[in-house]
Point group: C2
């Protein structure tokens, strides 16, 4: 069906070998031949068969990325931003990206990786959102497959692999300090699920800020959400009804913050004026929230790009210096945290 080297060979009378070299621009083909071969190739609409090339080169020029699974859809928006970065950087280096859905459960998740890596379909993997004791990382190391991770290992684990993360602790700490500076003393915290690698760091940032301000740390004010709006809604609702003194809520993803803001409204309070809400990620929609969301910025697209560039360098040349980047966190202050409440939960100024 498709035009192959053999077809061009037939049309020109040259051997397949010569065709291959002429097209590759090798110097040891006569200009006349090269010229002719190119013309015929164009005319026939020749397109090299990439699969055959992959087999022969034992390299695929393809990067793998496993999509987060359906139910636990981890921050869709975060993910698609990351994918954009990865995809753009990959295509600039002439690489393709193979995505694979991870179907429910850890067993299947690993199967997706085994298929990609063990099946020789990819030269490297971009791993989104490291978890604690991440089995995927263990596998990739054991398999000797190059990979790069957004996020680092959990507390106490060695992060001895290429990764980019932002300073999670500093991020939440800044958010907390910001709220404290505005006079808030009773601040709820909605953490990501336990198993995420960065959860402990964010928790710590919250604790530090409170301690430094001389405010008490209460476990009751801390809960977990599934990173999605629904989880944020529930967590915030629970928190606020159980502890009416709370005047501020820190949600550890923008999506949860959206849910939290809705909970605030449903409970008859106003975001910003009565209850301050902050998020994490700074997804594109954050600034279009109502009120616009105060949040910790993550350069997601750029992280995807850089991870990819590094990964490709790693694949093509073993000797690159290790990537261990912890980007500074930047709090973007918008209106969801502004406008002081005058309730009993606030400090006098």
């Amino acid at each position: 069906m498709a035009v192959t080297l053999k077809d061009i060979a037939k049309h020109t009378g040259f051997s397949i070998t010569t065709i291959s070299r002429a097209l590759a621009g090798y110097s040891d083909v006569s200009p006349a031949t090269r010229q002719q071969v190119r013309e015929v190739a164009d005319q026939l609409g020749y397109q090299p068969n990439l699969v055959a090339r992959q087999l022969q080169a034992q390299r695929t020029r393809t990067l793998g990325m496993v999509l987060p699974d359906r139910d636990r859809t981890v921050a869709t928006d975060f993910f698609s931003e990351l994918l954009r970065g990865v995809s753009d950087a990959a295509s600039q280096a002439d690489y393709d990206v193979l995505t694979s859905a991870q179907v429910y459960g850890t067993e299947d998740e690993m199967r997706a990786y085994r298929r990609m890596v063990g099946g020789g379909r990819v030269d490297g993997i971009i791993l989104a959102r490291a978890r604690r004791h991440d089995p995927r990382i263990a596998y990739l190391k054991a398999a000797g497959c190059p990979f790069a991770v957004s996020g680092r290992g959990g507390e106490g684990e060695p992060s001895d692999f290429p990764h980019i993360d932002i300073d999670n602790q500093a991020g939440v700490q800044q958010a907390t300090e910001h709220l404290i500076a505005l006079g808030h003393q009773y601040i709820g915290l909605i953490l990501p699920p336990e198993e995420m690698a960065y959860t402990a760091d964010r928790h710590e940032g919250y604790r530090c800020a409170l301690a430094q301000a001389g405010l008490p740390y209460r476990t009751d004010y801390v809960t977990h959400g599934d990173l999605l709006p629904g989880g944020g809604y529930q967590a915030a609702h629970t928190l606020m009804t159980a502890y009416p003194t709370i005047t501020a809520i820190i949600a550890c993803s923008d999506l949860m913050a959206f849910g939290a803001m809705q909970a605030v409204q449903v409970l008859g309070k106003r975001v910003g004026r009565d209850i301050a809400v902050t998020g994490f990620d700074d997804i594109p929609l954050a600034q279009y929230a109502n009120p616009p969301l105060t949040t910790v910025h993550q350069p997601i697209y750029e992280i995807g790009q850089q991870l990819t560039q590094h990964l490709i360098a790693l694949i093509e040349d073993e000797t690159v210096e290790p990537l261990r980047a912890i980007l500074p966190a930047a709090l973007i202050v918008r209106e969801s945290s502004q406008g002081r409440a005058e309730g009993q939960g606030l400090r006098a100024e």
Copy 2:
């Protein structure tokens, strides 16, 4: 490096062929042999080389999907929902999904397709968001590559290819009728860019609803946006400052609706009470907007799934009945359109 059939052959003493057949579960291998081969394969950690299989089978079990390009990031959220649907359905059928960034400009866009299809990397393509006179569709037809499209051809063009779309005209018509029923007479419309295939239909839905209600149609109230929040903001802002009589705005994507709502607020009005706003798509965040967004629902995830299932059927068996699905549109009424204004722009009731 990786374990191949040859390795198992060496370890067991059988020929490569026998190994291959034993592993494939062919009936013409003795149970004992099969048993032994399987054991050794397991023990060695054999994983079939998928690339080699692809080459030999002349099939890749891979579907291609080109991501919308960077600047004109068409409704990120729509896209990632679709990708989820495609990806899940694909992996259930043991297919992979190859994504490719379309770098700037139409030339490069086509290059991405040529690479995937011509290079033999995929067996079929999922096309997101058909455009008018879509060059991609023309190419795929010419190349004889199976494909399935979300959205159909433009007005007057034949939609003689597998596609799923929703009833765009009915969708906007319902939204318009809803607003009219609430008493609105001066309704702004923010359309998608001209080149989108469905733009004309949505425009028509708006016109029909007005006509049926005996309301005048004014071109001035109609404008275009880039489908992103920023575009919605600008369009709404322009519309409202130029025509203060406007009391309702229909945005043709939820993302634009988010922007439009912000414009309303910036102009000192309240969404729902002063100015009604409706969107299109019903992305997951729509219900978490403030106020929750009235919008036309699209089952994006399911569309992705169905397109994929159909495409795979098409690839594996040429004889499937053509897919020409136009799903009914469903308006989801939430608060962004509720709460009647008492301004001069409204009908008495």
